[in-house]
């Protein structure tokens, strides 16, 4: 197997039959507790009125964003973005503040209430199956997919593949690869026949949310300093005014007293 420079997934909703083999495979591969999962099904279910019906479903797990919001929100650096794609969570560092859960636009990180604070692993999410991908295997969810709705490979190549698929069947697909640019790009790319927002995917600008917030955050100190300067100025002004006023009053009182 050639070495992959940027690991990524491609999910094709037109191929997904909602069989959940990926979900079971992930649970077993990663020994997930029976009341948890790292993969979810979303979508429209069945839409329309009998007999004019449409069905659309999507499976998703961590999108492995190029600019992960979880990472930028994490105050202790428990998240890292690997150069070759995966967003990695480090339970050793995590303090369980759950900022990442609020930050993720896809609602992926889940808090592990069972393990809680005692075991130290607070957050559960897809790991990209490092035990498999660095040993010549596909991630568990991908390998087992009976209809090849999930594929895995080099991100650039998957984008080319997805474009070719849209070009070959323009009637079948929405002319867009979700995740190519959304939120600055993700490593979980999605093709669909129904609008992405109906699959439950948020409309996200190409500029990563994390960069917007980081720009804002970068302004914090200068802003705080300048605001401090302004306030100090005001305080000094008030002080001066009051002092002048007091002096004036005292002078007036003196004047009156001398009358």
């Amino acid at each position: 197997m050639t070495e992959i420079k940027h690991h990524a997934y491609l999910f094709d909703a037109t191929r997904c039959i909602d069989c959940r083999a990926c979900m079971v495979a992930c649970s077993v591969e990663n020994n997930i507790a029976m009341d948890k999962t790292r993969i979810w099904v979303a979508g429209i279910g069945i839409k329309g009125e009998y007999p004019n019906l449409e069905r659309g479903s999507m499976v998703y797990h961590c999108m492995h964003c190029e600019h992960p919001d979880c990472m930028s929100a994490c105050p202790v650096g428990a998240y890292t973005k690997a150069e070759d794609g995966p967003v990695i969570y480090n339970p050793e560092v995590c303090i369980g503040c759950r900022y990442c859960m609020n930050a993720c636009p896809f609602g992926v990180p889940h808090f592990d209430y069972d393990k809680g604070i005692i075991d130290g692993a607070f957050i559960d999410k897809c790991t990209f199956c490092p035990q498999r991908i660095y040993n010549g295997q596909e991630p568990a969810c991908v390998q087992t997919c009976p209809t090849d709705a999930l594929e895995y490979g080099e991100r650039d190549e998957l984008i080319v593949k997805a474009r070719a698929r849209i070009a070959a069947h323009p009637d079948r697909y929405i002319d867009h690869i979700y995740g190519e640019f959304e939120n600055g790009g993700t490593s979980y790319l999605i093709l669909s026949h129904i609008p992405f927002n109906e699959l439950g995917l948020p409309d996200l600008p190409a500029e990563p949310i994390s960069e917007v917030s980081e720009k804002v955050m970068e302004m914090t100190i200068p802003f705080a300093l300048s605001w401090g300067a302004v306030l100090s100025g005001v305080a000094a002004g008030v002080h001066l005014y009051n002092k002048n006023k007091e002096e004036k009053t005292a002078a007036e009182e003196n004047t009156e007293a001398t009358k």
């Binding site: 959940r20 029976m34 009341d35 069945i46």
Partner: protein, 726 residues
């Protein structure tokens, strides 16, 4: 984002099952040593072992990952043509069958009343002696025919049959009449082959009649269909329900249940009346070419419209599109095809459509009747001839049902004969890996039939409903813990081998049947030392060692020679669209229209079907599948539900002529207004199934027994029910 599987569903299982994957035991020396010798496991006992899945009858190849003596993951074997590296959700969850906390791990002998669930542990010797003594007692008192044997579609079936034939009973209960009798009988009569294989490489037009391939998953074939659709092949799908297959079809036709044959006969009408068929092929290979126009002229699309509710213009167009695709058209034979008493005619019409397209035996054609003889080229232990059986079969094959192949049988009629005692009374039942209490129609009758038995013994890995009502339960090793006879697929014979040592005292079926055979005085019929010896004898003609097969996962077999001549295994050697055999048995020699019964205005068709996460009645207790499947419900058209004042999520009472059941309702647009559909496989009554007990409702409690006189198939969609808010 919406989560269609809620957190609450997961929590139902909770912490009790969280540690279940850790319940496996350390690998004892035997399996581990063999696996180390074969190079599968390292010194620490970790590694990969190749074997075969048994979560359904498709039997994918698998690669089991072993760590610390436990199976920790199953992947599809890329070298196996049925899996090609993939497994469906059932295959992925297979290790939870092995690590099911409800496994039966020692032989059990009943101490309470039948169905009370009180058993005591017993040794193998005691349990086997008890089974043998009771079987011999019945044999002496009433003759061997008073013992019923039933088992379905597993790799050890050949030795189960061996036990049955050696014992001398004609009463063999397979569950095939509850499944595919209509398809098999029709294709045997038309093509001389049980089930033609499908080839999607060049397919352009696929017609599927209720074959819900995207939920009734056969891993490789489901993938092939998905790729064909992806490539642009057209799929026309007939089903009263908007299944996941319907959602992938170019055209979904919610046809009136029971009228598929009318739709198909009208397609044949359009093709033959307009001379759209592959004439050269048809003239050369098909019997019935001459009379077919006269015979089919009455089945016009306009005639079919009135019966099926499908516009005549659509039938005409679909027939023309089908014909235009020529031998790249495929009318899929289907699988569980026993729906109505006319399902045999539906299958005959499908067989005819394929004959007209000339897709059979055309290179790259979509249907192939070339089937390697089962087990050809493999050796077998030698054995004496079987005793002659003179008693009639209780199920009526062939004396009541002349065209039903004996190895299929008519299971529901076997049960009925137990109740009537006609033509004689059965007294004992030996059941292996089968659950007739849940599978047979009219469950109360089945329980009554069980009540008539002097003795019942069941072989299974868990306490299924039938085991719960048995006198002795013999614990079988799971498919990851045992050997089974080799399975030939193409020119390879694949092995199922233990990847972990059996838990508790569980044993393989090969071992159990041999032990029982010896106790019944039939030891000569079981001339193998153990499972490995059995497989060595199978491999002998190939000159391949067991060790090599264990390592590779399969043995190469010599290619079967083909002389290029096209013949069919029918009396005429041709495809028999016109069948003398049918005529001689007193049935229509042509595919024909037989009107099924229709429900009254306040009744619904009760439909059954499949979900991707379960196989029949055997997997509901698998905790992983339980976790990832939807809650079982009764589907009803949303507008009808509103009219009846029932809301989505309400409890409803379903009443049929033979029983009642309660279910949660799913009000949905995805079903015809005159139908309801019950999620199959649920409603278990064994309290020994702690995950599945009390979940969902059983359609077996509702189904009326209707038998197709030609194929012997049970008409599973012919039961009409009323539904009210509970």
């Amino acid at each position: 984002m919406t989560q269609t599987i809620s957190r609450r569903d997961f929590l139902k299982l909770g912490a009790t099952s969280a540690g279940v994957l850790a319940l496996g035991q350390m690998l004892p020396p035997k399996v581990a040593q063999a696996a180390r010798d074969a190079g599968h496991l390292n010194a620490a006992g970790d590694g990969y072992i190749t074997s075969m899945c048994e979560m359904c009858v498709w039997r994918c190849g698998l690669v089991a990952k072993i760590q610390d003596g436990r199976v920790v993951k199953l992947d599809g074997n890329p070298e196996h043509p049925h899996s090609r590296g993939k497994l469906c959700p059932r295959g992925q969850s297979g290790l939870m069958n092995t690590y099911d906390p409800d496994r039966v791990l020692t032989p059990l002998i009943r101490v309470g009343k039948r169905g009370e669930g009180l058993f005591r542990k017993a040794s193998w010797d005691e349990a086997l002696d008890m089974v043998a003594v009771n079987m011999l007692k019945i044999k002496e008192q009433y003759g061997p025919e008073a013992m019923i044997f039933s088992s379905t579609h597993n790799l050890s079936q050949v030795q189960f049959e061996n036990l049955l034939y050696a014992f001398g009973s004609p009463n063999y209960g397979t569950q095939r009449s509850l499944c595919f009798n209509a398809m098999i009988t029709a294709f045997l009569l038309t093509y001389g082959v049980e089930e033609p294989s499908r080839n999607y490489d060049n397919v352009e037009f696929i017609l599927m009649v209720g074959r819900n391939m995207m939920e009734a998953i056969s891993t490789s074939e489901t993938g092939e269909l998905a790729r064909a659709i992806d490539r642009g092949a057209k799929l026309v799908y007939l089903d009263p329900r908007y299944t996941k297959t319907a959602s992938k079809a170019d055209e979904w036709i919610p046809i009136r249940p029971g009228t598929d044959a009318a739709f198909l006969l009208a397609m044949i009408n359009v093709i033959v009346m307009n001379e759209l068929a592959d004439c050269d092929f048809v003239k050369q290979y098909v019997i019935g070419c001459d009379g077919i126009r006269d015979e089919m002229s009455r089945y016009t699309p306009e005639w079919a419209e009135k019966i099926t509710g499908v516009p005549a213009a659509d039938i005409d167009r679909i027939a023309r599109e089908y014909a235009a695709a020529e031998h790249n058209a495929l009318a899929h034979p289907g699988w569980r095809t026993s729906n109505f008493i006319n399902s045999f005619q539906t299958e005959r019409a499908i067989a005819t459509l394929n004959a007209l397209s000339g897709n059979v035996l055309t290179p790259g054609g979509c249907l192939s009747t070339e089937v390697a003889a089962e087990g050809a080229g493999l050796g077998a232990p030698s054995q004496p001839p079987y005793p002659r059986v003179s008693a009639l079969r209780l199920d009526g094959a062939p004396w009541k049902y002349p065209l039903v192949p004996l190895k299929l049988g008519v299971f529901q009629e076997l049960r009925n004969a137990v109740l009537t005692g006609d033509p004689y009374q059965a007294h004992g039942w030996f059941i292996s890996r089968q659950n007739p209490i849940q599978s047979l129609p009219d469950r109360s009758k089945t329980l009554e039939a069980f009540g008539k038995m002097d003795f019942i013994a069941t072989v299974d890995i868990i306490m299924n409903d039938t085991a719960w009502y048995s006198d002795v339960v013999l614990p079988e090793a799971s498919y990851l813990e045992r050997y089974d006879p080799l399975l030939p697929v193409g020119n390879k014979a694949f092995i199922r081998q233990p990847v972990v040592e059996p838990q508790g005292e569980a044993k393989s079926a090969l071992w159990i049947y041999k032990q029982l055979g010896e106790r019944l005085g039939l030891g000569d019929f079981f001339q193998y030392e153990d499972e490995e010896d059995y497989i060595r004898q199978q491999l002998e003609p190939l000159g391949v060692s067991l060790e090599e097969v264990k390592e590779k996962g399969y043995a190469e077999m010599p290619e079967s020679e083909h002389d290029g001549e096209i013949t069919f295994n029918t009396p005429s050697g041709k495809i028999e669209v016109y069948s003398e055999t049918l005529k001689n048995a007193g049935f229509s020699p042509w595919p024909t229209w037989e009107e099924p019964p229709f429900p009254t205005a306040d009744e619904f068709y009760l439909l059954t079907g499949k979900v991707a996460q379960h196989t029949q009645f055997g997997t509901q207790n698998n905790q992983l599948l339980h976790k990832y499947s939807d809650e079982p419900r009764l589907w009803m058209n949303a507008k009808i539900a509103a009219k009846l004042g029932i809301e989505d999520g309400d409890w409803v009472e379903i009443t049929s002529p033979v029983g009642k059941a309660h279910s949660l309702l799913l009000a949905t647009e995805a079903i015809r207004p005159d139908c309801v559909y019950l999620t199959p496989g649920y409603g278990h009554i064994s309290k020994g199934l702690k995950t599945a007990f009390g979940v969902g409702a059983s359609d077996s409690a509702l189904h009326v027994t209707y038998t197709d006189p030609i194929s012997g198939g049970q008409a599973l969609s012919q039961t009409f029910v009323t539904v009210k808010k509970a």
